[in-house]
């Protein structure tokens, strides 16, 4: 297998800076490298402002105009995304790489029926026969778990529930069987009971069509039993990578350890009513001025002298578990 089919996406040393008049430069991504294998589910875990949504935007080349790429490469199935023209990008978006929105209520067109919105994606990618298109849309609707296909096909977004809208958005995203699907907090606007359904649906999509998924979330629990690998981001950098079982069960970086300590099985939580939570103390990072050394150091309980002197390189305390922390070497 050559590298263009083995990986659906390869990101190397990607650095992205935002410019603004009042707060100057903000380095949202600082040398991010991550490979997403074909059909792999990769999770990005991080807090707001850590750069996870910038990474999602960069993978589609859909960033705000004040964003500038200061280095690095993105290969999608072996093609360098950063050197493509707008015309070439149009052929790739939706067909090789697509995304589902955080809030489908905003992403769907309110004056188009659900069916025609899904059909629009197919038309953009050259399925010109109307009859054929309609049949494909019906298939897609069935795939994302609808029963009354005709009814849903001709429904407008406002007639659908939040969970149904998210299913329509997923149908749009997988219409052309992309190599990579980016899901940026796909369940954060949904009810607790619906979250499970949408996550299960995404898992089926991967199983049936081998579509790789990049799932972005701030909640470690959303990766449990779902993601193959999880990368933990803090302040524009990846601090730790591992399988979801490793990250959740045996986190190595003090930041991940702090996050995982906050998740607790319900039975245990119920027996500890009204006890303080094991919070990560301190303020989140300020994206306009990062400290010189490790960016988590100001909040870290295991901080050492070296941590504020320089940024820790990548250490491998275990095979295929890179961690950026001086606890594991110097």
């Amino acid at each position: 297998m050559n590298s263009s089919t083995k990986y659906s996406a390869q990101v190397r040393e990607l650095t992205i800076t935002y410019f603004s008049n009042d707060s100057g430069q903000v380095r949202a991504l600082d040398g991010i490298s991550i490979d997403i294998g074909a059909g792999e589910i990769v999770g990005i875990l991080g807090e707001s402002g850590c750069g996870k949504s910038t990474l999602a935007g960069a993978l589609l080349r859909l960033l705000a105009p004040n964003a500038r790429c200061d280095g690095g490469t993105i290969l999608i199935r072996g093609r360098d995304l950063l050197n493509l023209s707008e015309k070439e990008l149009r052929l790739i978006r939706g067909r090789l790489i697509s995304r589902i929105p955080q809030d489908p209520a905003l992403a769907l067109n309110p004056v188009m029926t659900a069916g025609s919105q899904i059909g629009e994606v197919l038309r953009a990618h050259r399925v010109s026969n109307v009859q054929q298109r309609r049949m494909r849309v019906m298939e897609l609707l069935r795939e994302v778990g609808f029963d009354h296909l005709e009814q849903i096909y001709s429904a407008y977004p406002h007639q659908l529930s939040g969970g149904q809208r998210q299913r329509i958005a997923i149908a749009q995203a997988i219409a052309c069987r992309p190599a990579l699907l980016i899901a940026d907090e796909p369940t954060s606007r949904l009810d607790a009971t619906l979250k499970g359904e949408i996550i299960t649906l995404l898992f089926q999509v991967r199983q049936q069509h081998g579509i790789a998924i990049l799932l972005i979330s701030h909640d470690p629990a959303s990766f449990a039993g779902f993601a193959d690998r999880v990368a933990v981001m803090y302040a524009g950098r990846i601090v730790e990578v591992g399988s979801s079982a490793e990250i959740l069960g045996r986190p190595l970086h003090p930041y991940t350890q702090g996050l995982v300590r906050l998740m607790m099985p319900l039975e245990v939580a119920g027996s500890r009513v009204r006890t303080r939570l094991p919070a990560i103390e301190g303020e989140p990072f300020d994206p306009t001025c990062f400290p010189v050394g490790c960016r988590f150091a100001p909040r870290c309980v295991e901080r050492m002298d070296i941590c504020s002197l320089r940024y820790p390189g990548e250490f491998l305390p275990e095979p295929s578990r890179p961690v950026n922390c001086f606890k594991y070497g110097e």
Partner: protein, 273 residues
Amino acid sequence: MLVVKGLTKKYVRGGLWRKRVPVAAVSNIDFEIPSGQTLALVGESGSGKSTVARCVTRLERPDAGQILIYGTDIAQLRDRDLAPFRTGIQMVFQDAVTAMNPRFSALEVIEEPLLINDRVGHGGRNRKDRRDLVRALMIEVGVSPDWMRRSIFHFSGGQRQRLALARALALRPRLLVLDEALSGLDLSTQAQIANLLFELQAARSLTYLLISHDLALVTRLADMIAVMSGGKVVEAGPTQQIISSPKHDATKRLLASAKSAASKLAAITGGLV
């Protein structure tokens, strides 16, 4: 401290061309919170939690039922008679950004309730008193008072929620209604704010009405849980009891969704969390 009996609120749907029909958002709600304790109102979206919150704070006038604050029914009071009770009940909203005037500094945000209170002639504070009070409140919620001149946009999400708490505490309320006040925050920030809520409750003997859809978080915070579904309280009791022996389907559904994440986690970690 707070007793709610038979609370009912209807909204009117339709109008203009369609027929106007009243829809009951909540009907016949009963619960009570002893002083200094926390009751969590949980339920799926649309179950009527926020309507209850808006009635208890009297942002809405209920159609029927009683809301007793230390024995006085405020459910049907007119605005003028309500004023002395307003200071005692304060609300914190989910999104601190939209709940604050975007042109205000931290100082102005926290000072606003004091100014209004002074204007109706209850406070009698001068400028310096107010400034000192804001300073003390900011320290209490853990935001540096040196930043009081900064616009609210210069604060992080967690800090803004701390400022929202400071504003709510400015008039020394006895009851805080927290409408999804912890949702939408990062996990680490959420834990910090939860701990702050513990501290404030202990220091000021506050009573909390906590509204949330996140059962896992609520179990750590609340003494009692009331589960809402379809505009009714379908089950209520001590937190332990609701978690260990749920009776109603709505409770079981909420528990199942909270558990599925938790049990996947337990399977991975071997329950060692």
